[in-house]
C-alpha cells in the first residue's frame, strides 16, 4: 500500500469525523464518527482500519483528536450520549492511544479548564488512566527500542508533567482533589509503575531486545530532586533489593538505571536510596560499583554523606561503609574514607567549631570504618591511626563539654583496643549512657543479615503488597507463643502465701550505725574537722555540721570564716560517702548564716594563689547556692498540718501508719472535687523580703575585681576557661536572683562590660555562660535602665546576638541568643511604649 494515499485517507476520515461531531445533531452520526475514531486505536484482526492507517493516526492525528474532543466537552451531543457510550467511545479514546500524548493533552487541558463538571470529567479520566496502568505503558514505551521519536523538549515537558501531576491537580482542584492524586498515593503508584517498566525491560532483554533506561532514570532523578525520594524509594528499594538478589539481569538493569540518572539529580537519588535500603548488601546489589565509575557518586558517598552532612541515622552510616567494604574493588575507598574521617575527628579546630551532633556522627563513622577494616589493613594504617588518635583524644579531652569528652574517651578506648598496641588498652572512667553505649556497640559489626523475603512471583503491582503480607503471620505466631508461655511461667510463683502480698514500708532510714558519738556543739564539730584522724568521728561531724550551723546561728557567726576555711581546704581522705555534698551544704549554711564575712572571704580566695580548679569551682558553687537560698522566700514554718494531725488522732489501733489513710482521704476528696479552674488552691503565700537583695553586691562585685590579673597558677582569661565559663554563669545567676533590687541595674552594666571581651570565646561553655548572663541581665534589669545606661551598647549587642543566633556551632548558644534577642526586643518595646504614654500624658 502506498504511504501517501494512506496518510491522505486517514486525514480525510478524521476531518470528516470532526465535521460531523461539530455540526451534526443526530445521535447516530455522532456515535458512528466516534466509533470510526476508536477504530483507529483498536488493534486486532476485526479492526476496520489497517495497521498503517493506525500508525498514521497515532503519529499525527491522535493529539489533535483528543484536543478537539476536550474543546467540545461542553457540546450537547456529549451529554446526549448514554453513560456506557460515553465511557467506551469518548473516555476510551484517551485510554487506548499512545499514553504520552494522552497524558500531555489531559494535563494541558486540566491546566486550562476552570472548576466545572468538565474538569471533573477530565480528572476522572486521569484517574482511570493511572488506575489502568497506562503510566507503566508510557514508561515502557520509552524503554523499548521503538521509543516515540520526539524532541528533547517534549520529553522534558513530559517528565515534568509526570512528576508534577499531583501539584497541577491540587492547584486546580483545591479541596476537591482525588485521593489517588495526592502525593502519598501518587508517588508510590509511580514507583510501582516504574518497577513494572523495569520488569518488562528485563523480560525484553531476555528475549534479546535492546532497551534504554534513560527515561525511567530521568523520572527517578527528577522525582527525587523534587523531594519525593522517601515515598518513591520506600517502594522501589525493597523490591529492587529482592529482585536483584538472585537475578543477574535485574542487577544489570538496576545498575544501568542508577548510572543513567542525570548527574545533577544523582545526590538526591543516592541519599534517598541509602536511607531506604535495608543494608549494605542490598545497596551493593542495587547500585553495583557505581561509586567507582561515577565521580559524583564517589564524592557523595565518600565525602558528602560522611563529612559534610550529619543528619542521617547510624544505619545509613552502616550501609554506606558496609557497602564500601563489601567489594575488593571498593575497599581502597574505605581506607581513603577512614583517613579523611580520622583527619576530621582529630582536627582540634573541628572539635572546637563544629556542632556536637556532627562530631558524634563523625565519631560513629570512624568507629564503623575501623570495625570494618581487616587486621592487615589496620597494620598498614597503624602509625597514622595512632598519631591521629592521640592528637584527637587530646583535643577532645580538652573540651569543656562533657559529651565531647565522653566521645573522645569512648573512641580512644575503641581505637586502642582495635589497634592492639602491645596488648595495652586505654581505659577511661566515664558515665555509661545511651550515647556511649551506642558508640561502643558500633565496634562489634552487626552480624544479623537482612531479613528479606525471597523474590515472589513478579506480578508487578501485587509484589509490594505481597511482601508486606508475608510478615504478619509470623508475628501472630510469635504472639501466640508468648501468650502461651506466659501463664506457665507465672504459675509456680502464684503462691497465695507468698510475701508479695505484704507491701514493704519505706526502709530508707535503715542506715549503718556508727559507734562514735555525734558532736553536740559546733565548736566540737569544728575541732574534729580540723584535727581528728578518726574516720567515724570525722564523718559524723561532717554529717551534723550543717544542722549544727543552722541551729546555732550565734555560735556559727563566731566561727563562720574559720569553719569555711577549714571546709574549703578539707580533703576527702577517707572517701566518705557523699563527702562533696555534705561539705558544700555546710559551706552554704555558713554563707547564709553569716553572709557578709563569709562571702568576703570566699570572693577574695577565689582569686588568690594556690587553689586547685576544683576549689575555685567549689567557691562559685557555694556562692551560687547560698544566693539561691537567700533569695528564696523564708520557709521556716513548713506546713505543720501533717505533724499535728497525726498526733491528735490516737484511735486504739490507728492502722500501721496514720499518714497513709490521710493520703487516701485527701485523694478521694481531690477526685470528688470539681475544679472550675486550676490555681489558687493554696492560700496565697505571704510576701517576704528577698534576703539576697541587700547583700547581692558582696557576692557580685568582688568577683569582677581581679579577673584580668593572671597568676602563675590561675589564668582566667587564658587556659582556665572552664572556670571562666562557670564564673560568668554564676554572675548571671546573681543578677537573676537580685531581680527587682536597686543594685541590679548597676550589676547588669558591670556584667555586660565584663562579658563583652569574651563574647566570641572559643570554648562553647564560656559562650553559653556569656549568653546566659546576657539573658539574665535583660530579664532582671528594669527596661528604662536598659535603654538609658546601655543605650549605645545595645545596638552592638543586638548585632552580636543576631550573629550568634545565626552562626554559632553550638545549639544551646543559638537558642540562648534567640532567647536574649526576644527579651531585649520585649524590653525595648515596653520602654518605648511607656515613654510614648508619658509624652502623651504630658
Amino acid at each position: 500500500m502506498e504511504p501517501v494515499p494512506t496518510n491522505a485517507e486517514v486525514r480525510l476520515t478524521v476531518a470528516q469525523c470532526f465535521r460531523t461531531l461539530s455540526s451534526s445533531a443526530d445521535c447516530k452520526d455522532i456515535v458512528s464518527s466516534l466509533q470510526t475514531l476508536n477504530s483507529f486505536l483498536d488493534g486486532g484482526p476485526e479492526s476496520k482500519s489497517t495497521s498503517a492507517q493506525q500508525a498514521e493516526f497515532r503519529r499525527s492525528h491522535y493529539s489533535r483528536t483528543l484536543q478537539f474532543l476536550v474543546s467540545n466537552i461542553q457540546a450537547d451531543w456529549l451529554h446526549s450520549l448514554s453513560a456506557a457510550q460515553r465511557s467506551s467511545l469518548w473516555d476510551g479514546l484517551f485510554l487506548k492511544g499512545p499514553p504520552e500524548q494522552a497524558l500531555m493533552v489531559l494535563m494541558e487541558e486540566v491546566g486550562q479548564l476552570r472548576l466545572s463538571s468538565s474538569l471533573n470529567h477530565l480528572v476522572s479520566i486521569i484517574e482511570k488512566f493511572l488506575q489502568s496502568g497506562r503510566l507503566a505503558d508510557l514508561l515502557w514505551s520509552y524503554c523499548g527500542q521503538a521509543a516515540p521519536s520526539d524532541s528533547l523538549q517534549f520529553r522534558e515537558t513530559l517528565v515534568g508533567r509526570i512528576i508534577a501531576l499531583p501539584d497541577i491537580t491540587a492547584n486546580k482542584l483545591h479541596p476537591n482533589n482525588r485521593p489517588l492524586l495526592l502525593p502519598q498515593e501518587y508517588y508510590p503508584l509511580l514507583a510501582k509503575e516504574m518497577l513494572i517498566a523495569l520488569e518488562r525491560t528485563c523480560q525484553a532483554l531476555r528475549d534479546g531486545t535492546d532497551c534504554s533506561m534513560t527515561f525511567v532514570a530521568q523520572i527517578l532523578g527528577k522525582v527525587c530532586i523534587q523531594g519525593h525520594s522517601g515515598l518513591v524509594l520506600a517502594v522501589m528499594a525493597p523490591r529492587l533489593s529482592v529482585c536483584t538478589r538472585s537475578d543477574m539481569l535485574w542487577q544489570r538493569v538496576s545498575w544501568k538505571l542508577m548510572d543513567n540518572v542525570p548527574q545533577g539529580w544523582m545526590e538526591s537519588v543516592l541519599t534517598g536510596l541509602v536511607q531506604a535500603v535495608s543494608g549494605p548488601d542490598a545497596l551493593g546489589r542495587i547500585i553495583g560499583n557505581l561509586v567507582l565509575t561515577n565521580k559524583k557518586t564517589q564524592f557523595i558517598m565518600t565525602h558528602k554523606l560522611l563529612l559534610l552532612q550529619y543528619k542521617y541515622k547510624t544505619q545509613v552510616l552502616r550501609t554506606i561503609l558496609g557497602y564500601l567494604a563489601a567489594d575488593k574493588d571498593r575497599r581502597p575507598l574505605l581506607v581513603q574514607v577512614l583517613r579523611s574521617v580520622l583527619q576530621a575527628w582529630s582536627n582540634p579546630s573541628a572539635v572546637k567549631h563544629t556542632p556536637l551532633e556532627q562530631q558524634l556522627y563523625v565519631s560513629k563513622a570512624l568507629l564503623l570504618s575501623v570495625s570494618l577494616l581487616k587486621d592487615s589493613e589496620l597494620q598498614e594504617l597503624r602509625s597514622e591511626l595512632l598519631q591521629c588518635m592521640l592528637s584527637g583524644m587530646q583535643s577532645h579531652l580538652d573540651s569543656s563539654v562533657v559529651r565531647i569528652r565522653n566521645m573522645g574517651m569512648v573512641v580512644g578506648e575503641c581505637l586502642s583496643s582495635r589497634l592492639d598496641i602491645n596488648g595495652a588498652k586505654l581505659k577511661f572512667e566515664y558515665e555509661q549512657n545511651d550515647e556511649t553505649c551506642e558508640l561502643l556497640s558500633l565496634l562489634t559489626p552487626s552480624t544479623c543479615d537482612e531479613p528479606e523475603p525471597e523474590p515472589g512471583p513478579l506480578n508487578g503491582l501485587d509484589c509490594c503488597e505481597e511482601t508486606s503480607e508475608t510478615v504478619p503471620p509470623m508475628q501472630n505466631v510469635s504472639l501466640q507463643n508468648q501468650s502461651g508461655s506466659q501463664p506457665s511461667k507465672t504459675d509456680p510463683d502464684s503462691d497465695l502465701d507468698s510475701d508479695d502480698e505484704l507491701t514493704p514500708y519505706d526502709m530508707s532510714g535503715d542506715q549503718e550505725m556508727s559507734q562514735a558519738s555525734p558532736p553536740r556543739y559546733l565548736r566540737d564539730c569544728l575541732e574534729t574537722l580540723i584535727s581528728s584522724e578518726d574516720r567515724e568521728r570525722l564523718e559524723l561531724s561532717l554529717r551534723l555540721a550543717e544542722s549544727l550551723v543552722r541551729k546555732n546561728v550565734f555560735a556559727a557567726r563566731e566561727i563562720s570564716v574559720q569553719m569555711t576555711k577549714v571546709l574549703l581546704h578539707m580533703e576527702d581522705k577517707y572517701s566518705i560517702n557523699g563527702f562533696l555534698g555534705l561539705r558544700q551544704a555546710t559551706m552554704v549554711a555558713l554563707t547564709v548564716t553569716d553572709c557578709i564575712p563569709v562571702t568576703q572571704y570566699l570572693t577574695t580566695e577565689f582569686y588568690s594563689l594556690n587553689y586547685s580548679l576544683r576549689q575555685r569551682l567549689d567557691i562559685l558553687e557555694v556562692l551560687a547556692l547560698a544566693a539561691q537560698e537567700l533569695s528564696r522566700p523564708n520557709t521556716d514554718k513548713k506546713a505543720p498540718s501533717i505533724g499535728t494531725a497525726t498526733t491528735t488522732v490516737l484511735a486504739p489501733y490507728p492502722g500501721d501508719n496514720p499518714v497513709h489513710w490521710q493520703q487516701v482521704v485527701e485523694k478521694r476528696i481531690q477526685s470528688k472535687t470539681r475544679r472550675i479552674s486550676k490555681g489558687a488552691t493554696q492560700p496565697a503565700s505571704k510576701g517576704s523580703p528577698n534576703r539576697f537583695a541587700p547583700v547581692a553586691g558582696y557576692f557580685f562585685f568582688p568577683l569582677l575585681r581581679n579577673y584580668d590579673k593572671p597568676q602563675v597558677t590561675f589564668d582566667l582569661l587564658g587556659s582556665d576557661h572552664l572556670i571562666l565559663g562557670r564564673l560568668i554563669h554564676t554572675l548571671g545567676l546573681f543578677i537573676h536572683l537580685a531581680i527587682n533590687a536597686p543594685i541590679a541595674a548597676q550589676m547588669g552594666c558591670a556584667l555586660l562590660d565584663f562579658v563583652w571581651a569574651v563574647r566570641y570565646h572559643v570554648d562553647q561553655m564560656v559562650r553559653r555562660g556569656v549568653l546566659f548572663a546576657v539573658c539574665s541581665v535583660f530579664l532582671s534589669m528594669p527596661s528604662q535602665n536598659l535603654l538609658v545606661d546601655l543605650g549605645d551598647q545595645l545596638f552592638e549587642t543586638r548585632t552580636w546576638l543576631a550573629d550568634v543566633a545565626e552562626g554559632d556551632s553550638d545549639a544551646d548558644c543559638r537558642s540562648l541568643a534567640v532567647q536574649s534577642l526576644v527579651l531585649l526586643d520585649k524590653s525595648i518595646k515596653k520602654q518605648l511604649q511607656d515613654s510614648k504614654a508619658l509624652s502623651l500624658e504630658s
Binding site: 503462691d495 502465701d497 507468698s498 510475701d499 508479695d500 502480698e501 505484704l502 507491701t503 514493704p504 514500708y505 519505706d506 526502709m507 532510714g509 535503715d510 542506715q511 549503718e512 550505725m513 489501733y653 490507728p654 492502722g655 500501721d656 501508719n657 496514720p658 499518714v659 497513709h660 493520703q663 487516701v664
Partner: protein, 332 residues
C-alpha cells in the same frame, strides 16, 4: 493503687515506760476471756504485768532477788507464770485472783544467758528445757513433777549453749530440741533417744537466738554478725542451711515468727526492729524508735488477728508496741 505507694516508715502505736531496767524478755497473754496482758522481765529483777487496755503496769513482781530476769512464759493450763533469772532459778508464780505467790522454784545451775524452752505435752504436763551446770549441758525435765527426762551433752566441744527450742514434730514419737552453741553450731537433738540427729555450722560467731516454724520445718538463727541464717529440716531430720539475709548493722538479740507464719521480726543491737516476710525473707519494714539495743521481740497471741501486736523491749527501758500487717485489708 494505694498498695503500690511506698509508705512512710511506721511508728509505734504506744509505748510502755517505767520498767526501770533493760527489758530482757516479753511475753503476751491475750487469749481467753481475761484482759490482755504483757509480761516483761527486766534486768533489775522485776517482772511487770502490763494491762494492754489501760496501758499501765498492773502488777510488779520482784522476783529472782534483784538478779536479771531473762525469760518469762505462762503455763496455759493453770495460768501460772514461769520465769527464769540470772540467779540460776526458774520460778513458777500463781497470779490468779490478784495473788503473786511463788509456787515452785527450780535450780538450773546455769550461769549463762540461755533462755528456757517450754513445751506443753499434754494438758497440765510440760517439758522444760534449760541449760545446765556444765558448759555444754542441756537438761530437760517434766513439769510439774520435776522428773528429769534427759541430759544432752554433745561429744565435741561447742562452747556454751546459747539458745534452745523444744518442739513436737507431727510425725515421730518424741519431742525434738534445737540448740545453738557458742561456736556457731546448731544441733538437733532427739529428746527421747537422747541422741544428736543432725548438726550444722550456722554462723562463724555464737548463735545468739533462734526460732523455728514447726509447720513448714524451717527456722532461722541470728548471731552477733550481720547475717541471719535460715535453715530447714528435710524428711530425714537433717539440718540444711538455706539462705541468709544480710542486715545493715550487726547483732541480733531475738527472733520471732508470727503465729500465722507470715512475718518474722528481729530485734537488733542497732536499736531497730526489722520485719521480714517469713516465706521468702523479704525485708518489709524497719521499726525505729528505741535509743538502745532491742533485746526482745514478741508477737501477741490475740485470737482476733486484727488485734495482733508486736512488742519490742529495749535496753533503753521502754517497750514499744506496733500494729503491723495486722489489718486484713492491707495484707490482701
Amino acid at each position: 493503687m494505694i498498695e503500690r505507694m511506698s509508705r512512710p516508715a511506721p511508728s509505734p502505736i504506744y509505748t510502755l515506760r517505767g520498767a526501770g531496767g533493760a527489758l530482757n524478755t516479753l511475753h503476751f497473754c491475750c487469749w481467753g476471756g481475761c484482759a490482755p496482758v504483757l509480761f516483761s522481765g527486766s534486768a533489775k529483777g522485776a517482772i511487770h504485768v502490763w494491762d494492754l487496755n489501760s496501758r499501765r503496769a498492773e502488777k510488779v513482781i520482784e522476783a529472782h532477788s534483784g538478779s536479771s530476769v531473762i525469760w518469762v512464759n505462762t503455763l496455759r493450763s493453770s495460768g501460772n507464770l514461769i520465769s527464769q533469772g540470772r540467779d540460776m532459778q526458774v520460778c513458777v508464780w500463781d497470779l490468779s485472783e490478784g495473788r503473786s505467790q511463788l509456787v515452785e522454784s527450780l535450780w538450773t545451775g546455769s550461769v549463762g544467758f540461755c533462755q528456757c524452752s517450754l513445751l506443753e505435752t499434754s494438758p497440765a504436763t510440760y517439758l522444760l528445757g534449760f541449760a545446765g551446770q556444765q558448759t555444754e549441758e542441756i537438761n530437760v525435765i517434766e513439769l510439774p513433777s520435776k522428773t528429769p527426762v534427759c541430759t544432752l551433752v554433745p561429744e565435741a566441744k561447742l562452747g556454751m549453749v546459747m539458745c534452745i527450742k523444744l518442739w513436737q514434730p507431727d510425725s515421730g514419737p518424741g519431742p525434738l530440741l534445737l540448740a545453738g552453741y557458742e561456736d556457731g553450731s546448731l544441733l538437733l537433738w532427739d529428746v527421747t533417744q537422747r541422741s544428736k540427729l543432725s548438726q550444722v555450722k550456722a554462723h562463724p560467731e555464737p548463735v545468739m537466738c533462734l526460732t523455728f516454724d514447726p509447720k513448714c520445718l524451717r527456722g532461722i538463727t541470728g548471731s552477733s554478725e550481720k547475717k541471719l541464717s535460715s535453715w530447714m529440716l528435710d524428711s530425714q531430720n537433717n539440718l540444711q542451711v538455706q539462705d541468709c539475709v544480710t542486715l545493715v548493722n550487726p547483732g541480733v538479740s531475738q527472733l520471732c515468727i508470727r503465729e500465722d507464719g507470715k512475718l518474722l521480726a528481729s530485734g537488733g543491737w542497732d536499736h531497730r526492729v526489722r520485719i521480714f516476710g517469713w516465706k521468702k525473707l523479704r525485708p518489709l519494714a524497719v521499726l525505729q524508735y528505741h535509743t538502745d539495743m532491742v533485746l526482745s521481740v514478741a508477737f501477741s497471741d490475740h485470737e482476733d488477728p486484727r488485734q495482733r501486736l508486736l512488742a519490742a523491749g529495749s535496753k533503753d527501758q521502754r517497750i514499744s508496741l506496733w500494729s503491723i500487717y495486722s489489718n486484713g485489708a492491707e495484707t490482701g
